[in-house]
């Protein structure tokens, strides 16, 4: 479903933003840094669950009225 794909893409974009923020930042703001780390941790945890092992499902389509191909 499109929404699920988008979610993951969005979360990855946010992680990229957080990583870049750290890499660019000159002013050291520990509070802000901790906030970003917390955000990043939450995103990473959620994305990890998306990668968890889930059994694939296989279903043969029962066609109602097509030319019989058997």
């Amino acid at each position: 479903m499109a929404t699920k794909n988008n979610d993951i893409g969005e979360s990855l974009k946010k992680l990229e933003a957080i990583a870049s923020w750290f890499e660019k930042e000159n002013e050291i703001d520990v509070e802000e840094g901790l906030k970003k780390v917390r955000e990043g941790a939450a995103l990473i945890k959620d994305l990890k669950s998306r990668l968890a092992e889930v059994t694939n499902e296989f279903e043969e389509i029962k066609k109602e009225l097509t030319k019989d191909t058997e």
């Binding site: 479903m1 993951i8 893409g9 750290f22 520990v30 694939n56 279903e59 191909t69």
Partner: protein, 446 residues
């Protein structure tokens, strides 16, 4: 109902070749009033009978002509040079999915027919099949050229990332579908399988039916996969068929073909959005759609942890300056200094604690070095601050006053440290832990 007599028709003037064919028994009733047919009636009767004589005939294509609404060619017997004139509507020609050219060996199926207005015997073609590698290759090249010219090979849509819903058109029998399923990662893929023949007469309608069905009933599929194993050019015909290729191109769902081939890439593959040549590779392509996450995630984790580590290092290296600044700012205001000092140490303590907690949530693969270094530095500075706090506490005049010590001021408000600094009779002020006393100097002792 009067039965028709069996008629034997002689061939031509020399009568030497005997019967062309025999009219079957039964058929249309003849009006008893006449003992002859009109030409039109006769030809109609013949055509009725001929229609039931469905047959396949093979020969070489000659005099191929494509007109606006119809196509004609003569099928020639290479042995005895006899000719069968063939006709078909342009629509039937396109539906057959095979392009023709003079010289090709083909098999046509259909039924014989007499074109009344010219009185000519011909063959009404319904399907066309190239025969032999030469013809198959020729048909392949013709279609390749035509579709390439139309631009059907130029449009490639990107397969979506993080694929979840997959439509598969393939044969239930054989190893192809098993290899595919076996090699998909367990990421919760939802596979909808549309069974179709991939070879033989049922392949073309089966595959086209599958593409149409999936586009109509499951338009939200992330990708449509069409697969078959390798084979000869002849067994591949469905995948070099014009109608199948056009159907693939018009699919709204992106198409990934996994079709085995040796030399010539099946045209269905060229029209699809992507192609590989084995079911295993097809599964891998789908798995790959998750790469951004599979390899991206650990990379992000590393980057963030490392960067935050540097971040804290930076911060902790700035601590002595921070300390100096604060000391400089408050200077004599010892109470303020003390307050600020505990504030800082409090913040550093909690930051330190939270860093550990955050790293614990994020992963087990912590950059232990980063934590250790930061931890060491922070511990060092925290103990420095604690030392200062002690010093401040001890130096805090308020504290000493509470212990019973007092401060004595002279008449002009200066603190008296030496008894010699006062004169007898001078009024002095004593500040106690609580309250003040005004007194007069009575005597002085050194």
């Amino acid at each position: 109902m009067p039965k028709k007599k069996k008629d034997k028709i002689q061939n031509g003037d020399d009568g030497s070749l005997g019967d062309l064919f025999e009219l079957p028994k039964g058929g249309l009733p003849i009006s008893p009033a006449k003992d002859y047919f009109s030409v039109g009636e006769f030809l109609d009767i013949l055509n009725e009978h001929l229609k039931s004589e469905k047959v396949s005939v093979a020969g070489e294509v000659t005099e191929f002509r494509a007109h606006d609404k119809w196509v004609s060619f003569s099928l020639k017997d290479k042995e005895d040079k006899s000719i069968l004139k063939c006709f078909l509507s342009i629509w039937t020609y396109r539906s057959a999915g095979v392009l023709l050219e003079d010289g090709m060996e083909v098999k046509v199926s259909g039924y014989p027919r007499i074109y009344k207005l010219a009185g000519t015997f011909s063959f009404n073609v319904e399907t066309i099949e190239p025969l032999g590698e030469g013809s198959l290759k020729k048909a392949y090249l013709l279609l390749l050229k035509m579709l390439e010219k139309e631009g059907l090979f130029a449009r490639k849509r990107a397969l979506p990332r993080f694929i979840k819903n997959i439509g598969v058109i393939s044969s239930k029998d054989g190893v192809v579908i098993h290899d595919f399923r076996k090699n998909l990662k367990p990421l919760g893929f939802q596979i909808k399988f549309f069974n179709s023949r991939v070879e033989g007469a049922d392949a073309v309608p089966g595959i086209i039916g599958g593409i149409k069905w999936l586009n109509k009933n499951m338009p939200d599929l992330d990708v449509m996969v069409i697969m078959r194993g390798g084979g000869s050019l002849e067994s591949m015909q469905a995948f070099n068929n014009e109608q199948v290729c056009r159907e693939i191109f018009s699919s709204k769902i992106p198409v990934l073909c996994g079709i085995g081939h040796e030399v010539d890439v099946p045209i269905a593959c060229l029209v699809a959005d992507a192609y590989v040549s084995t079911p295993t590779a097809t599964a891998y392509t789908i798995n790959e759609s998750w790469d951004d996450l599979v390899s991206g995630l650990p990379m992000f984790e590393r980057r963030i942890i490392t960067q935050f580590g540097f971040y804290l290092k930076e911060f902790s290296s700035k601590l002595p300056y921070l300390w100096k600044n604060i000391y400089g700012r408050f200077g004599d205001n010892l109470a303020g200094l003390k307050k600020e000092a505990s504030g800082i140490s409090g913040r550093i303590f909690s930051a330190f604690r939270r860093v550990f907690v955050q790293f614990g949530i994020m992963s087990d693969r912590i950059t232990k070095d980063a934590i250790r270094i930061i931890g060491d530095r922070l511990t060092h500075y925290i103990s420095q601050i604690q030392k200062f706090e002690k010093i401040i506490a001890v130096a805090d005049p308020e504290r000493n006053l509470r212990l019973g010590y007092s401060i004595v001021f002279d008449g002009s408000g200066r603190v008296i440290k030496n008894a010699k600094d006062v004169k007898k009779g001078e009024v002095i002020k004593t500040k106690l832990g609580k309250g003040e006393i005004e007194s007069e100097v009575k005597s002085i002792t050194n």
